[in-house]
Symmetry: C2
Subunit: 411 residues, 2 copies
């Protein structure tokens, strides 16, 4: 088998952890597999580099930021390779440039365009374990780029796709993907399998195990992702295409996200192009708008509500204030004491009663819903942030997520 | 003009120093020059990386050491480029690989084979200041190599040669090359010019301003090196080919080196191949032997004395003990309380009385000479280390080095 293994920054954050990861990699190799390892920068390296940088300038060019930050993974791949060498296996570290991870030109947020196979295949054929720098690539000008958030997960999946790997193992500090946050619901259960779409919704919703980018990439290329613990050898959660849609669980998991703020725009003219005017301004400032709800109040005016990340709230309000007159927004409000609670499940689309079950569970706990948004495989509600955990517990119980599901046996 | 400027690790050791270097680079650019800057890793970076490395392994593969250590310059080039950008000039940092500094495959001690011009010329034509990582290159396998000691100076000179630069400025914490160590002789005088060969001898002898490798490279390609202070704008010392040999100073400088140990081998058979046997064993362990003196005592046996760096003494003695019986060395001794004192001057070759003047000066101070070695442009003596500084002062005075020389006006 060809196995891609990805270890994050905390897994290689200290010398002894690097040696432990080396042991795990070598074990996998000695089970008869070819192994390509992707690692992030060690624990605090990136923060330390940024701290140093801000002592030099407040206004770093992005090309030079990538030059700087890409050293973080270069340090961790060399150290991990040394530790693997100590255990007696042939090993080579490779930067993104050396592999040939080609990206676009968007420094600090580059997207992978293509991955060369030649160097990796040659080194694998030579019996080497490969240790590849995550998070980084190279553009057409031969300049170093970094991939931004979720970059190392994405590197791992992209290498798996390029090399047609059998599995891409993502090692984390949890045992896998859970039906909900175990810190909120102690009965939360580890899922054996989950579909790409479910994982995408959960990842977007703040489950924080896998970055959505990597899941999207895995879905496109059909790469199975095995999310598992770096602390034990238990099987984790396999993210893969559902084999039998009918057998899919109705609700797979419950997620909540407290990094949410809600903005309400009142008495907005009901004219074509108004929404475009508003959300173009926000996109121009790189503000990611999540839920958008427009409710027709009267014939000629609307209320528009939307949510943004709480950290973007201040900037969002500045923009709203600036465009208020131009767009003819009469007034607006905001609320940052809110949270988003969602249920996700690929089987939801064929089970029309799911939404009403959700609303019932929340009503029984006297939880008021401020906004509702649905997709084919998820339903999200905005609630008071003080009620978020209660909502999660109620939903987890309502959908029997603490009990093994009959259809969760296809792994 | 095209100017190459090289700044060492201490010049870029702190954020405020990086900004000061940026100012200097930008000043040079604004005087109408094209500028390529070569920088070393910041102050302690290399030591910190090594410390981290030894927490992971005691036995690092050299390829991975190069992968690790090359991050040091990558950090400093990105930060310096950010500081230059802050001052409003176009700038790009380039790693050794991005420039195309091609080396052989000897990891941690690679030698430069070739330097690509294309990328640098393209970026210079675009109006950019270039900030290039010193000390590193790339081999035929596309692997990162480092150049070992003196690497950054050598990078600067190699870039100057490749680009046919007008001058290569090496910035240090001293004002230039002195007739001797000013800490030993307060009257020591800064030289306006010095030939490559004189500089080579002084560099080898521990003057520690320029690494011999870079001087050798500059001599081959006829690149003038300007050694100057990073703290002021005074002209420093120009290292270049002598224009009028007859005018060359008899003695240019006095150097001393206390990193010396002397080994004496007694009653060694006077047979062909013996010296080869001994010094092959030392070379095999990478021990650099400096002076070698063989004096015929009787018909069939010799005494052989040689010096090594003091840090290599223990290993040297181990090797001597190991080969003693095989080579038939009857006994041996060592002395680490010695130092080497040398005078250097391109005019020496045409002035036969120089050696006797040197011996006279040392005899007048009752300094005993334990070994003597001469070349066309230098004479070195091994003396007791406690007498080394006294010897330097006596020689500096004897050759009137504290006075401006009539022939030191060709700069």
């Amino acid at each position: 088998m060809l196995v891609i293994q990805k270890f994050g920054g905390s897994s290689v954050g200290k010398p002894e952890r690097i040696r432990r990861v080396a042991k795990r990699v070598v074990d996998t190799k000695r089970q008869g597999n070819d192994v390509v390892v992707v690692v992030s920068a060690m624990g605090d390296t990136t923060d330390e580099l940024l701290e140093l940088m801000y002592k030099v300038t407040d206004n770093p060019p992005k090309r030079e930021m990538d030059m700087l930050l890409s050293t973080g993974e270069q340090i961790s791949i060399s150290l991990l390779s040394m530790a693997i060498n100590d255990l007696g296996e042939k090993v080579k570290s490779l930067t993104g440039a050396q592999v040939g991870i080609r990206t676009d030109n968007v420094h600090t947020k580059a997207r992978i365009v293509d991955v060369d196979r030649d160097r990796m295949q040659k080194e694998l054929a030579g019996g080497n374990i490969l240790v590849v720098a995550g998070f980084q690539g190279i553009n057409d000008a031969n300049d170093i780029t970094t991939l931004g958030r979720g970059g190392s997960d994405t590197t791992a999946v992209a290498l798996a796709a390029a090399l047609n790997a059998d599995v891409c193992e993502i090692f984390t500090d949890v045992d896998g993907v859970y039906t909900t946050d175990p810190r909120v619901v102690p009965e939360a259960r580890k899922l054996n399998t989950i579909t790409y779409d479910e994982m995408l919704e959960l990842a977007h919703l703040g489950a924080q195990v896998l970055h959505p980018r990597s899941v999207e990439c895995a879905k496109i290329y059909g790469i199975p992702i095995h999310v598992r613990s770096s602390f034990n050898h238990n099987p984790g959660t396999l993210v893969k295409e559902v084999e039998n849609m009918e057998k899919a669980m109705v609700v797979t998991g419950v997620a909540h996200d407290i990094n949410v703020a809600r903005i309400g725009l009142f008495d907005v003219p009901d004219k074509p192009g108004i929404a475009w005017q508003i959300f173009r301004s926000l996109a121009g400032e790189n503000i990611n708008v999540d839920m958008i709800i427009q409710s027709a109040m009267r014939d000629d005016i609307n209320d528009i509500s939307f949510t943004v990340g709480r950290t973007d709230l201040r900037k969002t309000l500045e923009i709203v204030e600036k465009i208020k007159d131009e767009v003819n927004i009469k007034s607006y409000s905001h609320d940052e004491d809110v949270a988003k609670v969602s249920i996700v499940g690929a089987g939801m689309v064929t089970n029309p009663g799911v939404a009403s079950l959700m609303f019932e569970a929340l009503a029984q706990e006297s939880i008021n819903l401020e906004m509702i948004s649905t997709s084919e495989i998820k339903i999200s509600c905005i609630v008071k942030s003080t009620q978020a955990e209660k909502a999660v517990r109620a939903l987890h119980k309502k959908f029997n997520l603490d009990q093994e599901q009959p259809c969760d046996c296809c792994s």
